[in-house]
């Protein structure tokens, strides 16, 4: 199998968001991971982006549904006329 040429920092940076989102192709994942093993600067930047994503998700998903929501939805569904 042909060995892919290594990615530059600029190329890795362009792929970083997709890598953090797990939306890269397999060959791109391998290229990015190979680069991150060798480049401390990009590795730090990847850890930062991953951490930002984790923090944002955690803050935004703290909302709890109000008490009784399921019961109120149920009552709304019972009044639906499907005929």
């Amino acid at each position: 199998m042909k060995e892919l040429s290594p990615l530059t920092c600029k190329e890795v940076f362009a792929r970083l968001q997709d890598y953090v989102d797990r939306e890269l192709t397999e060959s791109d994942v391998q290229g990015v991971e190979r680069h991150l093993e060798l480049c401390g600067h990009c590795a730090k930047r990847f850890q930062f982006e991953e951490s930002v994503l984790r923090e944002l998700k955690e803050k935004l998903r703290r909302i709890q549904a109000p008490e009784g929501l399921a019961e109120r939805v149920h009552r709304a569904l019972e009044s639906v006329d499907l005929s």
Partner: protein, 195 residues
């Protein structure tokens, strides 16, 4: 190929699928509606609409994405009027490193992202998300809050996956700029209070 068995159109079978989705749906509805009463109304109306259309849902497929398509379309239609006009600023003018630079300014840390975003409470992060232009906000909400994949978001919004990627990247850039500004203001406020 044999057809999937028809979905029994009963409240019971519908609610079995709806139950695990209801909580996350409320959180998303609240992000769009910005108040609890409108959020609850949105969830109820989306549930009723989905139940009426339940015969069209194919059993064994992604109910969560199917339901969120209905919820999201209803939210966009209902709250579009409330949105401000989108920013005219070119995204190319916003550097890619705004939040990273703010994290470096905060000083050395094991987890610089946590230091910067840690200054912001849930309300501020939600506010920053709400300030995004609609087309970016919708994708960001579905991605950050509901953890849909690019493909699922493309199906929910009925746009190409490349459009999802582009809107998410651009929305993120704007969001990071807002968060960096908020974090900087909050950091300055905290250091003044400490004197």
């Amino acid at each position: 190929m044999p057809e999937a068995p028809a979905q029994p159109h009963t409240i019971e079978s519908f609610e079995r699928l709806l139950k695990p989705v209801l909580g996350p749906a409320y959180g998303t509805a609240l992000q769009f509606a910005r108040n609890a009463a409108d959020a609850e109304e949105l969830v109820q109306d989306a549930s009723v609409q989905s139940f009426k259309a339940f015969h069209s849902f194919t059993p064994g497929t992604n109910f969560r994405a199917w339901f969120f398509r209905i919820l999201t379309n209803l939210a966009i239609y209902r709250f579009r009027q409330r949105k401000r006009r989108p920013e005219a600023v070119g995204l190319e003018e916003i550097p890619d490193n705004v939040l990273w630079e703010e994290a470096k300014r905060a000083g050395p840390s094991e987890d610089p992202a946590s230091v910067v975003i840690g200054r912001l409470d849930q309300a501020r992060v939600s506010e920053a998300l709400d300030a995004l232009p609609e087309e970016f906000q919708v994708v960001c909400v579905l991605y950050f809050m509901d953890e849909f994949s690019y493909q699922e978001i493309a199906e929910i919004l009925e746009v190409p996956i490349g459009t999802v990627r582009s809107r998410l990247h651009r929305g993120r850039k704007l969001l990071q700029r807002s968060l960096a500004e908020m974090a900087r203001e909050h950091g300055i406020d905290e250091s003044e209070d400490a004197r």
